[in-house]
């Protein structure tokens, strides 16, 4: 496999959870390539925020999209060429704030793509405002007295929306995260990996997660249990919460056709 690093200077804060995600992703790519997937067929998109910088640190194809819109563009890529493995990186502000509608609809459609949700519970790049996943009472520049909103719970939200693979991992558990990403990408249908990601500058959750993160040993045998474990207060469970098979959007739309590869030239088109 060719080198997938770039020479772009890394500007994440020292100790940022994004390093763990980048390293785990590189490891999962190597595993995918070893399993026979062409590196050229892995295409990424990302939104705007600290998470998005991952785009510049990976010498791989993709689109550095608009804030909140990366999952929409990811769907457009997949629909055009279903041979591609499309992986979207999104921050919690990006995917559950500005771009919430696209996240819910990608799940609703069971679009065969993967969302890696960088859950750092804050808006890092815009200096630490509260995010859709910040807890009540979170103090940031836009909520100096503490947030008065209740945060979303991404796993129940995505489960209800129709995602068919839902997992959680932790940026500091490199192997767990790498394997979870690989499983998510291999899943046929909409897969999401919520990554617990400390932000060392604005919302440092390392000691919390180090103490509270607990690995699930098996996939919960029903949705109720999955929801219970995903929202448990005694621990942050990591692992796969849901894995099920449902028809995927592009196959429902056009079967085994590939719009980008099977394009018809003008001369073959009759109007």
């Amino acid at each position: 496999m060719r080198d997938i690093n770039t020479d772009k200077e890394n500007t994440w804060c020292s100790g940022c959870g994004n390093f763990g995600i980048l390293n785990a992703f590189k490891k999962s790519v190597a595993m995918m390539v070893e399993a026979g997937i062409s590196l050229d067929d892995i295409v990424m998109t990302c939104g705007i925020g600290c998470h998005g910088k991952i785009f510049d640190y990976l010498n791989m194809s993709g689109m550095y999209g608009l804030h909140g819109r990366a999952l929409a563009s990811a769907q457009g890529i997949k629909l055009a060429n279903p041979d591609l493995k499309v992986i979207c990186f999104g921050g919690d502000g990006d995917s559950l704030g500005e771009g919430l509608e696209h996240t819910l609809f990608a799940a609703k459609r069971n679009m065969d793509i993967t969302l890696i949700l960088h859950n750092n519970g804050t808006y890092g790049l815009t200096t630490g405002q509260f995010s859709p996943l910040s807890p009540r009472g979170y103090k940031g520049l836009s909520t100096p007295k503490g947030s008065i909103e209740t945060p979303f719970r991404p796993i129940p939200l995505l489960l209800e929306a129709g995602a068919t693979f839902i997992a959680r991992s932790y940026s500091a558990r490199l192997d767990h995260l790498a394997h979870t990403i690989q499983r998510a990408v291999n899943h046929k249908g909409f897969s999401i990996v919520e990554v617990l990601q400390p932000c060392v500058t604005y919302y440092n959750t390392y000691s919390l997660y180090n103490k509270m993160v607990k690995e699930l040993e098996i996939v919960p045998y029903n949705r109720n249990l999955a929801l219970q474990l995903a929202t448990a207060e005694e621990a942050f469970y990591i692992g796969v919460f849901l894995e099920e098979t449902k028809p995927v959007y592009h196959e429902e739309l056009y079967g085994s056709h590939n719009p980008a590869m099977d394009r018809k030239a003008s001369a073959e088109r009759v109007i």
Binding site: G68, R69, A80
Partner: protein, 557 residues
């Protein structure tokens, strides 16, 4: 040749098949080799209200529907009340006497007869067809054939109902239809022509979200997706639509998006992204009166500057507006081809009048361009934003079958040639210059196509664009004093090479905006002296005869 224009209007409530009846009548004229325009006037509701559909037809060219009727068929009282004053001398009125009363005209008990002939759902629109068939001298067999072809369900009940009404009509109109002609025709709306043109140029995906009068882009693309080799995707919002379109373009598919003003406003952000990632993208803007929700189902030309300035930031684009349904077909293909040739977003600006107005675009279409990219060489040295003399970088698409060992990075942030983000001063300037020098290529490429049109001759110079040109061309037939219509089809880049001859001249401008946006635009571009502005901004098209009169009066002043 008989130059008379006959105007036939069917009026009733929403859901009564008003448009359908008019369309069947329009098809009958088309098949007889006549020229036909159909315009629908409807409200933003599903049942009730007042809808009417007008067919103007002639053996000689006719460019838009007239508003005074030769034949008026009313399914309800409101239709009579609204249209009675617009009957021409010698015109015929038929009305549903179960619903309405009128001192003139011919009563037909349309509801009672429906009760007699239908067991389930009834269809009053058949009454209009039957009345027309009797007037036009169609045989029972010809009427039966239309019912079978055009109304596929409930054939027996429809036929029994129609035949009884047919038998009640003793009047005859000598249109002079030659039933032996049987001319092939392609009677389509402007929106349908846009989809057809784009399809021929290579369209693979249309992404949209419903908004009148642009919704039919989505409907028609969805309806025809098999025969036209494209997919229509109804996204969760306009934001989704345009960002999905960017993704599909990146993966190698020809894509288009479309909406009316409000939805197009939501697409601003994605349009700007198309400018930055240099995405080839056809955008269709079909205007209605605004601002905001405005008047959903009516026509306007108040989005001219909105289209010209769509998206924030500096980048090149093409904006053009078709002046006929035929032009909608060719322009749509041109704009998709230009988008791909230059890797820019292009805008087809139109309005409700043309979008939903129907006309025969004929069976022999002109040669249309194909949307093709400048192909790049795959491999490790490929750079998505490589500098080139004209600013257009070669394109390859991701995937091992398309471009092995190749990294293709599209980036909405300012970037280096390889697509990696940069905000160094030198890099920002270099990439802005790369996009900037495209302006020349855009200008040259557009010259390949017909950028302006002129119709008629006369001292008086009348400027218009879009479907207002159709209204003027029809008015031209009735004006006592001749005038010349000058219609820019391409608005950005402005076709100076064609229009400089009018610099500083005294002109008349006709448009559908309250403040005279097109007149302002022409003053900026050509420093013309706008002697008169004829502007209509009540959502309705001009009646061509009234427009002719307005122009004559200006001349006399």
């Amino acid at each position: 040749m008989d130059e008379r224009v006959f105007t036939i209007t069917v009026g009733g409530r929403a859901g009564e098949g008003v448009k359908k009846a008019a369309q069947v009548i329009a098809h009958i004229f088309c098949a007889a080799g006549w020229n036909v325009c159909q315009a629908d006037d409807y409200q933003s509701l599903i049942r009730g209200g007042h809808n009417f559909s007008t067919v103007s037809t002639s053996q000689t060219p006719v460019y838009c529907a007239h508003q005074n009727h030769d034949l008026l068929i009313c399914f309800d009282q409101r239709s009579i009340d609204k249209h009675l004053k617009r009957l021409k001398d010698g015109a015929l009125l038929f009305y549903n006497s179960d619903e309405a009363q009128c001192e003139q005209g011919i009563p037909i008990p349309m509801n009672s007869l429906m009760k007699k002939h239908y067991h389930g759902a009834s269809n009053v629109s058949l009454a209009a067809l039957a009345i027309f068939a009797a007037l036009a001298g169609m045989t029972q067999e010809q009427l039966q054939e239309q019912i079978v072809q055009q109304y596929r369900r409930d054939i027996e009940e429809n036929t029994a109902y129609a035949m009884e009404i047919y038998g009640m009509v003793s009047q005859r109109c000598d249109y002079g239809l030659d039933w032996s002609v049987n001319k092939p025709f392609h009677f389509v709306s402007g929106i349908q022509a846009i989809i057809l043109g784009a399809s021929k140029a290579g369209l693979d995906f249309f992404y949209g979200y419903p908004m009148t009068p642009a919704s039919s882009l989505l409907h028609y693309a969805a309806l025809k997706q098999e025969s036209l080799n494209l997919f229509a995707i109804h996204a969760e919002s306009e934001l989704a639509a345009i960002n999905m379109a960017l993704g599909s373009a990146m993966a190698g598919c020809r894509t288009a998006v479309g909406s009316s003003g409000g939805g197009f406003a939501l697409m601003q952000e994605g349009f700007s992204a198309a400018g930055m990632v240099e995405a080839p993208l056809l955008c269709i803007l079909s205007s209605r009166p605004g601002p905001a929700t405005g008047a959903s189902t009516y026509t306007a030309q108040e989005d001219l500057f909105f289209a010209l300035h769509q998206g924030h930031g500096e980048f090149g684009r093409v904006v053009a507006s078709p002046d006929s349904n035929n032009r909608a077909l060719s322009l749509s293909a041109e704009l998709l081809a230009l988008a791909w040739e230059l890797q820019i977003p292009t805008i087809l600006l139109t309005e409700k009048h043309l979008s939903e107005g129907m006309a025969d675009i004929g069976m022999n279409h002109p040669e249309l361009p194909e949307a093709k990219e400048l192909p790049g060489t795959a491999g490790a040295s490929y750079q998505r934003y490589a500098a080139t003399p004209n600013g257009v970088s070669p394109l390859v698409f991701p995937g091992h079958k398309c471009a092995p060992d190749t990294v293709v990075k599209w980036t909405t942030l300012e970037h280096l040639e390889n697509g990696v983000r940069s905000d160094s001063a030198a890099d920002i300037k270099a990439m802005k210059d790369k996009r900037g020098i495209k302006a020349k290529a855009i200008q040259e490429a557009c010259k390949r196509y017909q950028t302006t049109a002129e119709y008629g001759e006369g001292e008086l110079l009348v400027f218009a664009y879009g479907s207002t040109v159709l209204e003027l061309r029809e008015a031209q037939k009735y004006s006592q004093r001749p005038f010349k219509i000058i219609a820019p089809i391409y608005l950005e880049p402005f076709p100076h090479e064609k229009l400089e001859q009018y610099r500083g001249k005294e002109v008349v401008v006709v448009e559908h905006s309250q403040s005279g946006l097109f007149a302002q635009f022409l003053k900026i571009k050509l420093d013309v002296q706008v002697k008169h502005l004829i502007n209509k901004y009540d959502g309705r098209a001009f009646d061509p005869i009234e427009l002719a009169k307005q122009i004559e009066e200006l001349q006399d002043a």
